[in-house]
Symmetry: C3
Amino acid sequence: MHAPFSAPAAELAEVTAALLASLRARGPLVHCITNGVVQGFTANALLALGAAPAMVDITGEAGLFAAAADGLLVNLGTPAPEQRDAMREAVAGANAAGTPWVLDPVAIGALPIRTALANELVRERPTAVRGNASEVLALAGLGTGGRGTDASEAAAAALPAAAALSAHHGAVVAISGPEDLVHAAGRTVRVLGGDALLTRVTGGGCALGAVTAAFLAVRGDEQPAAAVAAAHAVYGLAASAAAAGAKGPGSFAVRLLDELSLLTPERVRAEAVFAEADA
Amino acid sequence: MHAPFSAPAAELAEVTAALLASLRARGPLVHCITNGVVQGFTANALLALGAAPAMVDITGEAGLFAAAADGLLVNLGTPAPEQRDAMREAVAGANAAGTPWVLDPVAIGALPIRTALANELVRERPTAVRGNASEVLALAGLGTGGRGTDASEAAAAALPAAAALSAHHGAVVAISGPEDLVHAAGRTVRVLGGDALLTRVTGGGCALGAVTAAFLAVRGDEQPAAAVAAAHAVYGLAASAAAAGAKGPGSFAVRLLDELSLLTPERVRAEAVFAEADA
Amino acid sequence: MHAPFSAPAAELAEVTAALLASLRARGPLVHCITNGVVQGFTANALLALGAAPAMVDITGEAGLFAAAADGLLVNLGTPAPEQRDAMREAVAGANAAGTPWVLDPVAIGALPIRTALANELVRERPTAVRGNASEVLALAGLGTGGRGTDASEAAAAALPAAAALSAHHGAVVAISGPEDLVHAAGRTVRVLGGDALLTRVTGGGCALGAVTAAFLAVRGDEQPAAAVAAAHAVYGLAASAAAAGAKGPGSFAVRLLDELSLLTPERVRAEAVFAEADA
């Protein structure tokens, strides 16, 4: 089992700033297979941040593309049959080529098709899993899921589930909530920041999954867990800045894209806040 | 046949304010099977208003989800084969569980697949039908449809079609236009408000179908027709407020989402205007 | 082979102004079969400009609709199997009815499904092809494509490919880049304007393909090449105006829609700049 984080919480702001600078310099190609509701917003979030998105979600192309991409997101929000097969192909391609990949088990639990697919895909050892507490609990077999993308459980309640997923499948597990938690191999880091308006914009969480894949793509010598925490911190800082001055969820979403493009490594170094948490 | 409205036009503003307060308090889960063009905007409109959207459009899940949801929208804008089967499943699930549902027969008339599907689904007795005049005429077999989502007919011209649909299938029928008309069982109410910029934003009408499902979900003791009229009034008030100060359709769409979140029951009570109409 | 342009570069601003006026007066119906990432933005760009979009992408309807529409866009961004067959049907319907159509060979080259489809469709003689340099090179068999929608080649490097495509298939070929090039039958026109922020918004290029179809739909006695150049000039002017004052890609996209609706034929006449280029 890999070491969970290469840095203590106090140093993660510095790591995050460096990874953001690297992302901007390299413009990683992030392959997204994601739901039809948020494809546009997800692509725009990646573009704003400085990554290059591509949504290749058909069989015969998804495997090739995942092998060539710098990172992959697999999001189960609207898993039509063709897309389900493309996900399997992409995961195989990513694993064969060493492309880091993120599994977002949207709304699993009570819905049988996506729950079975999530259980199948998590066994393929995603680099990271990102979801709300209900989804993480359901993926670990410890809950029945929430309603849709609603986070009806507090993030901390899903920590045992995150620990189980990490232990069984080797994944970093990020639990989104009012405060995000990132867990890997026995250690949990709290990522402060973000804004409740993220829950009033569709794709607010789904785009974070893609941003997580972008940070994993440029992590270099950093451990995956540090890259996942960095993604959450950057996204949260942009969200906090966007919320200041937003009149509602419409202007917040526009400002979030602007802020993702404006955020600098210097501001990240000064403003990102991480804390140790009990696992 | 149910009584069309539980309140005279003069009382509908009060009813609408109460339903908006109820929607905000309860956050109904609205299941949407809708076209790929407007999925994002539709979800954002529901989130802005205070509802919880979920786009579950695959077979094996759509029926289960419709039974558990508080309301359902079936929109025929881009009805791929898998989605068509998911719609049938969802309608069966909604009817079995008593979930209110809205049929939006987008662009039916000359296009054969969706026209046949709309004719099939309307016989399953949707709680409400929402469309422009061309679509309502085509659904009643009284016209050949417009071109795309264009409202090439005045709303009033479709009132006989609305009356026929209401009589045969029990549905409340809402006709969108410069002035919206809501018809049920022999009575028609005019809903004033709205703005022509709604026709310059994709999903301007489609999102209203989802909002209608959200109001039906929280109608409590009110008749469905009152909830449908309330949805149109709230959406129209938000659109009017959004248009004031918008520079064009881009900023209008952003402001519409903001205004949907900002609109209060108090403003609805003071500003919503309904009028009786000849049926 | 048709004459490439009906007007010298110095007169194209006048032609463009007249075509924009015609587009606003006629509101052409533009049939779009395009990728799921950009469907909403594409429809909104057309609506803002004054055209009427309709995304009919299922078999059994696409052929009929293309024959009735004023213009057609076929964009290969996310070509699921059903959509691929709908594209074939639509192209046949468009060709039978004389509907002008645009092929956008998104991300072809290394990805086999879409590359084969683009090769098949270009033989059906699209009125215009629009892509970045990598895509135009790949369509002519002279390159292996870029990564996703990235324009990794300078536009001018693709001019021989554009000339070959024009000679073999009769299409006007537009190459998007920092400066757009429009080639037809041996003559190339440079279209100045635009803004780099277009590369930071998903659909920035894809929507231009739809706008191109809209201008082809209203070209009247003008040659297709003039209409293609006009579309690029109008889109570029709106983008330049949108970039002035934008804080980032989020506000740029909103402003682009506003500016597409605000742009007048008078401003086009005064501000559009074309130049001859060596072919």
